[in-house]
């Protein structure tokens, strides 16, 4: 039982961090990053090859490079890779194209990414993916599985706290205001002197880094990662969490992540067996889709909406 709860907790932390990154891009700035999941994947793969060590020629999985780096380096490296990928994708897609095109092209990029990785077996072991990815400090800590999971949860919470603080500071600062202005009215934001293209690039980098760290945390917990783990529909699950929870509000997004993850992991308990156990996945997705539609209709601002900023605690009108 404890084992199950701990697993759920780690998944929720991972989803929350990923949702915070997506919230920065989509909730705050209005960037419809349909390729978000590839940043998570980039982080997962980075952490994998940096902990698996060099691939042996007789080994069962082939990938490029490889190292045995201790924690937290794989996670930090993942963040860097995610940020760089955000820079590249952002520069290619966001600077030259507008609105509708961006969204569609990002969707295509996500699918292309999966195809390319699957098609090149030497790169990241193709469609089969990587496995037996080691968890940090596992061999050093002589504890039970549950004990280790508590420890791992602790590590993930450390990462989550740091990322939360970064997001919170951005959200509360004048930069956060610029992001929201870009979301509301790009042309007007430009007209008052903000470089919209650079701003979007910035959130692609920071959001991408967050996504990648989430991926790194996830992969070292579940020890395996393949293209099937990052289909473009996964991005939608994250979007659902952000929209349902409350875009633009970090706490709201956290609630959304808990709800959506809960739906997917608890789903097997909630839905009575409909006959074919394979169909449970289908029913979960249908429920998710209905949840989104219901929220978009009745409460588009989400469970915990973006809060209104007030500046009331200054003495009015004084110059002192």
């Amino acid at each position: 039982m404890a084992y199950y709860v701990l697993t759920l907790c780690v998944y929720v932390v991972v989803a929350t961090i990923a949702c915070w990154g997506l919230n920065l891009q989509f909730g705050e700035t209005g960037v419809l990053n349909f390729a978000y999941i590839i940043f998570v994947a980039a982080g997962a793969y980075t952490a994998s090859i940096l902990t698996l060590g060099h691939p042996t020629s007789s080994g069962y999985q082939q990938y490029f490079w490889g190292a045995h780096l201790p924690w937290p380096l794989p996670w930090l490296a993942a963040g860097v890779v995610g940020g760089l990928l955000g820079l590249v994708v952002g520069a290619l897609v966001l600077r030259r194209l507008r609105g509708d095109y961006q969204a569609m092209v990002l969707l295509v990029v996500a699918i292309m990414g999966a195809y390319m990785v699957s098609a090149a077996p030497g790169f990241l072991n193709g469609g089969i993916g990587l496995s037996d990815i080691p968890s940090p400090f596992r061999s050093m800590l002589h504890t039970s599985q549950v004990g280790y999971e508590v420890f791992y949860l602790g590590l993930s919470l450390v990462a989550a706290l740091i990322i939360f603080e970064v997001m919170r500071r951005i959200n509360a600062s004048p930069l956060g205001r610029v992001l929201r202005a870009v979301r509301e009215n790009e042309a007007a934001a430009e007209a008052v002197g903000h470089n919209v293209a650079t701003t979007k690039l910035l959130v692609m980098v920071v959001g991408g880094a967050a996504a990648a760290i989430a991926g790194a945390i996830e992969v070292q917990f579940i020890s395996a990662w393949a293209p099937a783990s990052w289909t473009y529909t996964e991005t939608f699950g994250l979007f659902a969490a952000v929209i349902v929870g409350g875009r633009g509000n970090l706490l709201g997004v956290t609630v959304g992540a808990v709800l959506v993850q809960g739906l997917f992991l608890e789903g097997t308990v909630l839905f009575p067996s409909i006959g074919n156990p394979e169909l449970i996945g289908a029913v979960q997705w249908i429920s998710l889709a209905l949840l989104i539609l219901i929220f978009l209709w009745f409460r588009p601002q989400g469970v915990i909406p973006e809060r209104r900023r007030r500046f009331g605690n200054l003495a009015r009108g004084s110059r002192a």
């Binding site: 970064v166 500071r169 951005i170 509360a172 600062s173 004048p174 930069l175 956060g176 205001r177 610029v178 929201r180 202005a181 509301e184 009215n185 042309a187 007007a188 934001a189 430009e190 007209a191 008052v192 002197g193 903000h194 470089n195 919209v196 910035l202 920071v206 973006e306 209104r308 900023r309 007030r310 500046f311 009331g312 200054l314 009015r316 009108g317 004084s318 110059r319």
Partner: protein
């Protein structure tokens, strides 16, 4: 509201007022041409605007006035021509570059940030505020808090002038059309502009709010701000502007003051025929 604050909310000390030179040109448009494929919206437009003056740009629908304004502000790329603002050629540069140089354009429609409060609408226009860069943001409130507080005070002074102080915490999208226009003007002021490009500020606004806008613009003029105003409401143009340019079919057809222009044949023809 402090008596000696300027329209941009700043306190003005007596010694800081500079004499305005009569031949000081702040904007020079030279051979501006804007073509969309085969359609020529603006054709060889050239004029100069002196610092501290208010110039109206009028003409029938489709004359290219709005396009010219957008080209000057940077939203539209000119096909040809130079746009020299305060010594720098801004032709072809994006709008944020023009804004950074002090040339601010207001919008005919939909220029506000609907889901930001009025106060936030104004704050977001402040150029180079501390905390707007990623490093500033990560440094936290200790770094940008005081600067923001100062800007909030300045914004309140501006809102006070525009009679919008009680709407400070309202979402801009909740206000009436005329109030939103005032918010936009307030926002333009926060940007510490040297010159404002106003795209039909009176359009769709009821009479009392239109007076408010006119008064605000008059104050702007008196405090030395240069204005270029596209407007159909000829009464406002006459009250606000010393000089009026008339455009028709992409070209400039007249230049003078309203009194002179009323009697000129080609101006009347343009309006009646166009």
């Amino acid at each position: 509201m402090p008596e000696n604050s300027t329209i941009t909310g700043e306190t003005q000390s007596a010694s800081s007022a500079e004499p305005i030179s009569a031949t000081d040109s702040i904007l020079r448009v030279d051979g501006l041409r804007v073509a969309f494929g085969a359609v020529v919206a603006v054709d060889h437009l050239s004029f100069e605007i002196q610092r501290g003056t208010a110039v109206g740009l009028i003409g029938p629908n489709g004359a290219g006035k709005s396009t010219a304004l957008k080209a000057i502000g940077g939203e539209v790329k000119p096909t040809e021509g130079a746009i020299v603002f305060d010594g720098t050629d801004l032709a072809g540069h994006p709008p944020h570059a023009a804004a950074r140089h002090g040339l601010i354009r207001t919008f005919q429609l939909g220029g506000e940030f609907a889901r930001l409060t009025v106060m936030e609408n104004l704050l977001v226009a402040v150029p180079r505020m501390r905390g707007q860069s990623i490093w500033g943001a990560l440094a936290g409130r200790r770094w940008w808090g005081a600067a923001q507080a100062a800007e909030v005070r300045r914004a309140r002074a501006v809102l006070s002038r525009l009679d919008l102080l009680d709407k400070e915490d309202h979402y801009a999208g909740e206000l009436s059309g005329g109030q939103r226009k005032l918010v936009e003007i307030g926002r333009a002021l926060m940007a510490r502009p040297k010159m404002l490009l106003l795209d039909e500020p009176m359009a769709g606004v009821n009479r009392s709010l239109a007076r408010h806008i006119e008064d605000a613009l008059k104050n702007l003029r008196e405090e030395g701000l240069t204005l270029l105003l596209v407007e159909h409401e000829l009464g406002s143009v006459e009250r606000l502007c010393d000089r009026v340019l008339v455009m028709a079919q992409g070209r400039q057809i007249a230049d003078g003051d309203m009194g002179q222009l009323r009697s000129r044949r080609e101006v009347l023809d343009a309006y009646l025929g166009g």
